[in-house]
Amino acid sequence: MLRYIGKRLLIMLITLWLISTLTFILMNSIPGDPFTSEKKLPESTLENLKAQYGLDKPLPMQYVVYMNNLIHGDLGFSIKNVNRSVNDMLADGFPVSAQLGAQAMILAIFAGILMGTVAALRQNRMSDYSLMVLAVIGLSIPNFVIAPLFQKYFGLNWELLPIAGWGNFDQTILPSIALAFTPLALVTRLMRSSMLEVLGQDYIRTARAKGLPPIRVISFHTLRNAIIPVITLIGPLTAAILTGSFVVEKIFSIPGIGKYFVESIINRDYPVIMGATIFFSAFLILMNFLVDLAYGYIDPRIKLGKKEA
């Protein structure tokens, strides 16, 4: 087990290095630089600015410097927000993004499992059909459409909830739901089909033949087995919620990493782009690792680190 974890950590580091290198290359291949703007700066000022951020050096040199700093945990300074270190920005934004993401994730998983279960147990009846229609809607409408609609109806028309900002819990409700929308639909559908499959298994018949009442059969035998595929979905879901948060944070003016990230790209704020990308990647890689660990715990057939299952 320890060996397995060690091996995984090593692979995670290599992955991270590849991602940061790729981002570095891609970012520098986009035309323009952080100082491209409407008003022309005098040549000498530009030169100074570039020198200040080390952008005057040749690219391989920049890369080595950046990587060296990165190893020491230093992500550099933002170019647009003068005097703010990228580390600071991430540290500020993270709790906000994490809360939003966690709320969306919890909503998507719990409500999704519940709705999927209900749909499966009421297969081909009214509640099943309605839930499946909802799921298709959830899958086909992107969150940059849902979010403004929520703002218009719940915020402006019915004045139920604040439309933007961050601080109070009620401000988190609309963005969380908007962010959870597609993941929720995914979980619901997966849970439904997984439930149906498990319900048809021989061991469910065995459980019923023991005389266990339906509640027990469902909670002790069906749910646990049906949830396994949903757990594998948590990795991709985290990615979906993470990318979704860029848009949602921007639309609801939430001061999270996603919002910084979007702005940094518009501004070609190189250090912030790099920092945020590396941070997001590290986070995703870590999540996937944790999901694998959880998977091995829930499904005893999976022995982590062993060749055969």
Binding site: D202, T206, R208, A209, K210, G211, L212, R216, H221, R301
Partner: protein, 342 residues
């Protein structure tokens, strides 16, 4: 009354898109205390549906018990409430299934799966239930039961899983054990062990067994009585030696003729019964075997034969029993089967 179970005129149908499947059409069976009754018959003859009706485990919809009664200790199981059925299942009547590889829950330890029934039916506390689970595993011949009780099904071999299934089914000391092809999925040597185990446990616990199988060798080895099913009906029933050596039904003759036998020479050909079983969407009004029966007469296609009592224990439904029918002898007279240890 020495019958632990009595099935009278049972009819079961499935409602499908293509129409109604009459899977079981008027089955009469009884099971005596402590005996083993084998149900044989080719695929689709309604063996499993009959067994599942006793447990009320017919998937419903689409399945439904249309008619008849299943008497267990003076209660009609077709009529008892869901609640009473939950109490009966697993405690009074246990069931094991064909495929031990898929019949155990992969994410629950074997011990827990045995304990579950004990906790639910006998309100045992955790430590008593665990003790009993270990005891059951030892009883079904699983080595190191104290260790095995905490293991998951994937850590068990196929034969051991079927042993574990038997432990689950017998944990609450049921009066009846229904075994639906319990050895079909296992290796021949393991098959013999499992059958041996069932016989041994039956002696200890006096459980009556309904054994569903395709394998007449298994029947000869382990049953006292046999019911031969065809097209949703019991066409012949009797003691093992009556069915094997003095069978009166052409379908049974065919079944015997199509049985592979160890003591046969290589060049002896098997004779599978030609033709296919009746369409259960639109069952024939006469004898279900009429289309394939080499002795079929005009009346066979027109009317269902009445049941004839050959002896106290031997009954057959065939027009050949009618006084006016020509006399035909069973071609299995040369297939003398040595009846097993009993």
């Amino acid at each position: 009354m020495k019958n632990v179970l009595e099935i009278n005129n049972l009819h079961v149908s499935f409602q499908t898109y293509a129409g109604e499947v009459h899977a079981v059409r008027g089955v009469d069976l009884h099971l005596e205390k402590g005996e083993t009754l084998a149900i044989v018959g080719e695929s689709g003859s309604g063996k499993s549906v009959t067994a599942q009706s006793v447990m009320r485990l017919i998937p419903s919809p689409p399945g439904k018990i249309k008619q008849g009664e299943i008497l267990f200790e003076e209660k009609d199981l077709t009529k008892v409430s869901q609640r009473d059925m939950f109490r009966l299942r697993g405690s009074e009547i246990g069931m094991i299934f064909q495929d031990p590889m898929t019949s155990l829950n992969p994410t629950m330890t074997v011990g827990k799966q045995i304990m579950e029934g004990l906790k639910w039916h006998q309100k045992m506390n955790l430590s008593d239930a665990k003790k009993r689970a270990v005891e059951m595993l030892r009883l079904v011949g699983i080595p190191l039961p104290e260790k095995r009780v905490n293991q998951y099904p994937h850590q068990f071999s196929g034969g051991m899983r079927q042993r574990a299934m038997i432990a689950i089914a017998l944990a609450c000391n049921p009066k009846i054990l229904i075994a639906d092809e319990p050895t079909t999925a296992l290796d021949v040597t393991i098959q013999a062990q499992i059958l041996e185990l069932m016989k041994e446990l039956q002696h200890k616990t006096e459980t009556a067994i309904i054994l569903i199988t395709h394998d007449l060798g298994v029947v000869a080895e382990s049953a006292e009585r046999v019911a031969v099913m065809y097209g949703g009906k019991v066409v012949e029933t009797g003691r093992v030696e009556e069915i094997f050596n003095r069978s009166r039904h052409p379908y049974t003759w065919g079944l015997m003729g199509s049985m592979p036998r160890l003591d046969w020479q290589q060049d002896v050909e098997l004779h599978p019964i030609p033709g296919s079983p009746p369409d259960l969407f639109d069952p024939p009004k006469g004898c279900p075997f009429a289309d394939r029966c080499p002795h079929a007469m005009h009346i066979c296609h027109e009317e269902m034969p009445e049941e004839t009592e050959v002896s106290d224990s031997h009954r057959v439904s065939c027009w050949l029993e009618h006084p006016q029918a020509p006399s035909v002898s069973g071609e299995n007279n040369n297939v003398k089967v040595h009846i097993g240890s009993k």
